[in-house]
């Protein structure tokens, strides 16, 4: 048997879902006999059959990916409850096996997958999607690239009508329906407190909190998931603040981004300039914008002043 063929057959077997009792299936979902697959490629020994030897790898695969996935999404687990989360995780990992050399990227397709499979989250689908978006943004913020930050002097003589600001690659801007930022912090606190409180108490508390949030009427919250001094933070944003940052991320020039964000705003016209100034001051202090690229667009913007 050729190397590639053998590896395809074994990988397919190893990634075949386990039974409910976490053993290797005797018949794969596509009708293959797993005993036959095992005995065709793997030798038995005096203690284990071919099937049992293959099963060691089959179980290790699922234990590894499920535990890595659960570690990355404790918030989604709290929203769905343990049993539903486990079923969802298995279904997700069957549809979206790892395509990366690092387990860090295991959940990269969870948000879009959950949106396509609403039944996996039941009545709490919107809440689960919001939480998945937040937890994935958290992963991205944790180890995303930080470029040199924009300095005030970089902006000297630049025409705002042409200026295109780029936010740091580690920042995610999220428009959410539920206050999942508070909920996730509570879930994490519960996990941290496990040493001092019983597991049962924490599970009850978590269920109660999730239930309370799920009962809230959906109302938009705007969030920037960012990093400061290597810690990840969730920062609530005003609607207009979020709109400006989103427009800038989409590549709009500064003036156009501000103009479109403030169109229809409830902020009094007289107060808008002060708001914009305050927001930019905060964003600059947090280092959210990257230094200007020496792109023809920005060069031209500067030279016309």
């Amino acid at each position: 048997m050729k190397l590639l063929n053998l590896q395809r057959r074994m990988a397919r077997a190893v990634m075949t879902p386990l039974t409910h009792s976490e053993r290797m299936r005797t018949v794969a979902p596509d009708g293959r006999s797993m005993r036959a697959v095992a005995s065709q490629i793997i030798k038995p020994n005096d203690r284990l059959t071919s099937f049992e030897r293959l099963e060691i790898y089959n179980r290790q695969y699922w234990f590894r990916v499920l535990s890595a996935f659960a570690e990355d999404f404790p918030g989604v687990r709290a929203v769905l409850g343990g049993r539903r989360f486990d079923a969802m995780a298995k279904a997700y990992l069957i549809d979206c096996p790892s395509q990366s050399f690092t387990l860090r990227n295991l959940g990269s397709r969870l948000v879009s997958w959950l949106q396509k499979h609403p039944s996996r989250a039941g009545e709490r689908q919107n809440l689960a999607v919001d939480m998945a978006r937040l937890e994935w943004a958290d992963i991205e913020a944790f180890d995303g690239l930080r470029e040199p930050s924009l300095k005030p002097e970089d902006l000297a003589g630049v025409n705002p009508a042409k200026l295109r600001l780029r936010s740091q690659p580690y920042i995610s801007l999220l428009a959410l329906r539920y206050p999942v930022d508070d909920l996730l912090l509570e879930v994490r606190k519960d996990s941290d407190d496990l040493d001092v409180a019983s597991n049962a108490f924490n599970e009850r508390h978590k269920r109660k909190r999730v239930g309370a949030v799920a009962k809230l009427n959906p109302s938009a919250i705007f969030l920037a998931v960012h990093r400061l001094d290597e810690d990840v933070y969730f920062r609530r944003l005003d609607r207009e603040e979020f709109a400006i940052l989103s427009a800038l991320q989409a590549g709009k020039p500064l003036s156009a981004a501000i103009e479109s964000a403030l169109r229809g705003s409830l902020i009094a016209v007289a107060d808008r300039a002060a708001h914009v100034e305050k927001w930019f001051h905060t964003w600059a202090a947090l280092g959210w914008f990257c230094r200007l690229e020496k792109s023809p667009k920005n060069e031209k913007a500067a030279s016309r002043q």
Binding site: K2, A11, E230
Partner: protein, 283 residues
């Protein structure tokens, strides 16, 4: 060998794996440690705390990179993004050599994140050696391949595991990271004499040695890296050192990780064997 072309002509002593539960201890207490081994994939990222900690470690300690997902034995060609990130980290860590496993774990772009055993065939040896050469040519430092623990053997195998390791190392002209715990685990699972394995490895290619603990079940042994090293593994280590000389040695402890001092003390037990090797070399 103490220093050879497969470990960048370095003469490292006893190291331990750099693991997150020990970061605070290491950065605040600054214990004396010969070197740390890092899991490359944990630092093949664009930014954030892990890289900041690595930079702080690099200010004080020697670091060697050990990978878990290059999959030299996978039939597919190396992933270019993986190689690019690996090289960036090599330039940052200044690792004198780089190791990864003699195994496979991905096919058709899907990753199992496991160290799956190789079929010991000449075709696999040729393909694996070619991939090791490609990786080494790209990252431009010596590469050592590590023997893995295994729980299965293939019908198609044409040679023993140690013959396969030697065949690959010769064809790739690469170093060997000899994991004596893995040899022990596989010897128990496949009923061979572990000393035959250790005695068959080309001593001049050994760049580094791994020691570790494992978990024993009724019908097989799992390589779990969550226990101290057991005596039969120390005996294999002693024999390996007797053959290859005073070689960079690393204790792996990846699960149920005890205190830094406990891990380091366990690693330092290797000194008694290294000391006798040094003595023998001096006589």
């Amino acid at each position: 060998m103490p220093a050879n072309r497969f470990n960048g002509h370095t003469d490292y002593g006893i190291g331990i794996g750099l693991r997150s539960p020990h970061y605070h201890h290491i950065l605040t207490r600054k214990p004396v440690v010969d070197w740390f081994e890092i899991i490359s994939e944990n630092f093949m990222i664009d930014g954030g705390r892990p890289l900041r900690i690595l930079d702080q470690i690099l200010e004080q300690y020697k670091v060697v990179q050990h990978g878990v997902s290059m999959y030299f034995g996978s039939a597919e060609r190396p992933n270019r993004e993986h190689l690019r990130r690996l090289k960036t980290l090599v330039q940052r860590s200044k690792t004198p050599w780089l190791s990864d496993h003699l195994c496979w774990g991905s096919v058709d772009g899907r990753y199992t994140h496991d160290l799956l055993p190789m079929p010991y065939t000449f075709e696999a040896a040729r393909s694996t050696a070619q991939k090791i050469r490609e990786v080494r040519d790209f990252i431009e430092i010596p590469v050592a391949v590590e023997n893995v623990s295994s729980y299965a053997e293939f019908h198609v195998s044409e040679m023993t595991e140690w013959e396969f390791l030697n065949e690959v190392a010769e064809r790739a002209d690469c170093g060997i990271l000899l994991d004596v715990n893995n040899i022990y685990v596989s010897s128990q699972n496949h009923s061979f004499d572990p000393f035959t394995y250790v005695n068959s490895v080309p001593a001049e290619r050994v760049a580094q040695i791994h020691i570790a603990g494992h978990s024993k079940y009724r019908r097989y042994i799992l390589d779990t890296h969550d226990h101290p090293v057991i005596d039969p593994v120390w005996k294999l280590y002693a024999r390996a050192i007797e053959r290859v000389g005073h070689t960079a040695t690393l204790l792996e402890w990846d699960d149920s990780i005890p205190s830094f001092d406990e891990v380091h003390d366990e690693a330092l037990k290797a000194n008694r064997f290294l000391a006798s090797a040094s003595l023998a070399a001096a006589v």
